[in-house]
């Protein structure tokens, strides 16, 4: 499996990240924005693992995988809270169009 250069994984990761950013800017539905944030986090995971293949020491190589697992745990926590916030806002305002959330205090 040495046949695939690491840089291709990184280009893929950059593409996913760019798509995630595009989604966050373009879309109006906060759930879809959240999904694009998850896309960005996954792009970062892929980059971690790709760079981990380039390290010289074993400890650093496994560290890449440990980072990935920690990022997944953080993403899970963030999704739980974020979706709770979205549901709470929906209960209050009955709309979740991001453009309408323009008041600091309702």
């Amino acid at each position: 499996m040495e046949a695939i250069p690491v840089s291709w994984y990184l280009m893929l990761s950059a593409f996913m990240f760019a798509m995630g950013v595009t989604g966050v800017v373009i879309r109006r539905n906060p759930i879809v924005i959240f999904m694009c944030i998850e896309l960005m986090l996954n792009a970062a995971n892929l980059a971690f693992l790709a760079f981990a293949r380039q390290q010289a020491q074993l400890g650093a190589q496994v560290a890449g995988q440990v980072y990935t697992i920690l990022v997944m745990a953080v993403a899970a926590a963030e999704v739980a809270i974020g979706l709770g916030i979205i549901v709470a806002i929906y209960r209050l305002r009955d709309t979740i169009n991001v453009d309408e959330m323009n008041l600091l205090k309702f």
Partner: protein, 164 residues
């Protein structure tokens, strides 16, 4: 050779589904695109010698987080795609253009010049290896993560209650 075929196939799936997440109107279809994306990523993690991370990706991301997304979309009945109307129309082409510029500059300028993968022992992605490092060198972030998850649980429950 199998690795090459698998890589190109999964890369194609990732590219198509990433664009799908952003471009598709219906949020449920967007979520399904993201699930497919996570599957292809799990296969890529396998190609990168990270078996444990790949299966955790499927269990946590594709199996739990995306199910949570689907639940929220279905419960709030956000399947109707016509609710969200963009206010500033010039945002779209500008953003897409800048994003593509980012990818091209980064890939061409930086990533294409990186070195080859280093040799690694065969069992580098196994549970034993990851677990050994997780509990020795990285035990502090590990424990902090568990506290973080506890905070998330408490926070989600507090937000979901109707009356305090």
């Amino acid at each position: 050779m199998l690795a090459q075929i698998l890589f190109w196939l999964m890369a194609l799936v990732i590219v198509v589904t990433s664009i799908g997440v952003v471009a598709v109107r219906n949020p449920v279809r967007s979520a399904l695109n993201l699930v497919a994306n996570f599957f292809a990523l799990a296969v890529l993690y396998l190609l990168l010698y990270a078996q444990f991370v790949a299966v955790v990706q499927i269990i946590v991301y594709a199996g739990a987080i995306m199910v949570l997304f689907l639940f929220t979309i279905m419960l709030l009945n956000l399947g109707a795609p016509s609710e969200m109307v963009e206010r500033y129309e010039w945002k779209r082409p500008v953003t897409v253009g800048l994003a593509l510029l980012f990818v091209i500059v980064l890939s061409g300028g930086v990533f294409a010049r990186l070195g080859q993968a280093q040799p690694a022992p065969d069992d580098i992605g196994t549970v034993q290896m990851v677990g050994k490092y997780l509990f020795t060198d990285w035990v502090y972030p590990f424990e902090l993560t568990s506290v973080l998850l506890l905070i998330a649980i408490v926070g989600a429950i507090v937000m979901a209650k109707r009356r305090f």
